[in-house]
């Protein structure tokens, strides 16, 4: 089966002040798959995804070299629009950060920025996004309450729904389940498995079991270098690098 490449990363080198965080990484992320980026802290996996949505622009003293293309279009040269890019590439952060407003207004935030003001359309988007994030049944009767009143697991699904409301092509999740209980984690994982039909998903995680459970492809990073990248099944059963094997077996990390 030949798969379409959604994100092509070539010889990507990132330096913070004088620290080289990524040392020439080349990866293809395939369309409508879940791709896992794993590795111990300091491996550069989070920096890598913050380039794909250009959230890295909010850090100081960063130097980026190399090439990142989405659907063949470079996102590193000046010819693209970051606002437009972040509509196409959604982000879910490690810690759920609801905006201090109601559940409904959290979801409607992105669509409103796009200029969608029609009530019926907004209602539809809110309901649809919450359903896709497996949160609708729990909150449908109290959309007007503050999002800060939800539990941590619900807040994280709210953040996923909020991202979905922009109808992104790509979603980046940076250790989205690090603070969640197993049941909330399972709900997020179920949601992601459904979503990959339409969306390309990159999941950064330290949890190798989670990567093994739900990703199609997995990449192992270590100290800014891509050690191994393969289909998840292959990588977890017969890794070709010793380092990968040690990491998967929990010998370091």
């Amino acid at each position: 089966m030949i798969m379409d490449i959604k994100i092509a990363i070539r010889r990507l080198r990132v330096t913070f002040s004088k620290n080289e965080i990524l040392k020439g990484v080349t990866v293809d992320v395939y369309k409508n798959t879940i791709t896992g980026f794993m590795g111990p802290s300091g491996s550069g996996k989070s920096s890598l995804i913050s380039i794909i949505n250009r959230m890295i622009d909010f850090e100081d003293n960063v130097r980026i070299e190399g090439e990142v293309r989405i659907d063949g279009q470079s996102i590193l040269d000046g010819g693209h629009d970051n606002v437009e890019l972040r509509r196409r590439v959604g982000t879910v952060f490690a810690v759920p950060i609801p905006l201090p407003r109601s559940i409904y207004e959290n979801i409607a935030y992105g669509p409103r920025l796009k200029g969608i003001g029609d009530r019926a359309t907004l209602h539809y988007i809110v309901e649809d996004s919450l359903k896709k994030a497996f949160l609708w049944d729990e909150v449908k009767d109290r959309l007007g309450i503050s999002a800060l009143k939800l539990s941590g697991g619900q807040q994280q699904r709210l953040c996923l729904a909020r991202t979905l409301a922009l109808k992104p092509e790509i979603i980046l999740l940076d250790e989205p389940c690090s603070g969640l209980d197993p049941i909330s984690t399972a709900k997020i994982e179920d949601a992601l498995s459904e979503l990959k039909k339409d969306i390309t998903i990159i999941l950064v995680s330290n949890n190798t079991k989670q990567i093994a459970r739900i990703t199609d492809f997995a990449a192992f990073f270590y100290l800014g270098e891509l050690i191994e990248y393969d289909a998840t099944e292959k990588l977890f059963t017969t890794p070709s690098m010793k380092k990968t094997e040690d990491y998967i077996q929990g010998k370091f990390g």
Partner: protein
């Protein structure tokens, strides 16, 4: 010898209670005296009638109106300017020598005695720009006087908004301006409102800077170029020149009650803002 910690604890507890009681007590005494002395003279006529014979008889309506005009216009002018400066300093510039100079300037301005603002307003607006003693000169002077407070408090309030909220807003495809107006400012409203309230208090109670710039005409100002007086100025002149202590206390009572009402209104608005955005 070691003092028994439980004894110390008791002592501190009593001490702190006394201090709090003392602070509130002084306030209560001041308000009580003003109420007691002023209450007999405040009635419908006092509030809505014009003063006669320098204020010995009649009411204080023009000075109530003068106060409202001066304070309202100054706040309306100073708030967008001050909040805008605060947004610029916190969101649109990086820390540099330039921002340090602006901040130093703002802080120095906050420490200047109001009489100097009055003098400046008199020389610049009243004489140089030929505004004469007028509501306009008063408004401009008071605006300059309260700007530092609004800038500083707004800046602190904006800085206190967590960086995470901004990051989330950007990640949802907001521009900087959208992030500032839709996320940062709503969260900072309670703090900004506090600064505005402090400024209202300063403007309502100001005498020196007002006398120098707005003058002390007893007439009702009907245009920006009319002179007029505020309640504080009216009170000052009545008391200082021994015109009528009774009317002075009556004016003081109206002044205190209006400040109280403004504060209650502000707290109400603040709670509404907080409950909406949390």
């Amino acid at each position: 010898m070691r003092i028994n910690p439980r004894f110390t604890n008791k002592l501190v507890h009593i001490g702190l209670n006394l201090q709090a009681f003392f602070t509130v007590g002084i306030l209560v005494i001041i308000v009580a005296i003003i109420c007691f002395k002023g209450f007999p003279y405040v009635n419908f006529e006092f509030i809505f009638a014009y003063p006669q014979d320098m204020g010995r008889i009649g009411g204080i309506f023009p000075s109530i109106a003068g106060t409202i005009f001066l304070v309202l216009l100054s706040i309306l002018l100073a708030t967008p300017l001050g909040v805008g400066t605060a947004i610029f300093l916190t969101e649109y510039t990086k820390e540099s020598v330039f921002t340090k100079i602006i901040r130093f300037g703002v802080e120095s301005l906050a420490g200047i005695p109001s009489i100097l603002y009055g003098l400046f307003g008199f020389i610049f607006f009243v004489i140089k720009l030929k505004m004469g003693w007028s509501l306009l000169a008063g408004v401009l002077t008071i605006t300059i006087m309260i700007l530092p407070t609004i800038i500083r408090t707004s800046e602190e309030a904006i800085k206190a908004v967590p960086r995470n909220l901004r990051i989330v807003s950007y990640s949802l495809s907001a521009t900087k301006w959208e992030t500032v107006t839709k996320v940062v400012l709503p969260s900072a409203i309670p703090g900004i409102l506090t600064g505005i309230m402090l400024s209202v208090g300063r403007a309502v109670g100001e005498t020196a800077a007002v006398i120098f710039t707005m003058g002390s005409s007893l007439r009702l100002p009907t245009s920006l170029f009319d002179s007029g007086r505020t309640m504080a100025v009216h009170f000052y002149i009545l008391a200082r020149e021994g015109i009528s202590m009774e009317k002075a206390y009556g004016t003081a009572l109206v002044l205190v009650v209006s400040i109280l009402l403004i504060n209650i209104l502000a707290y109400y608005l603040m709670n509404k803002a907080i409950s909406r955005y949390s």
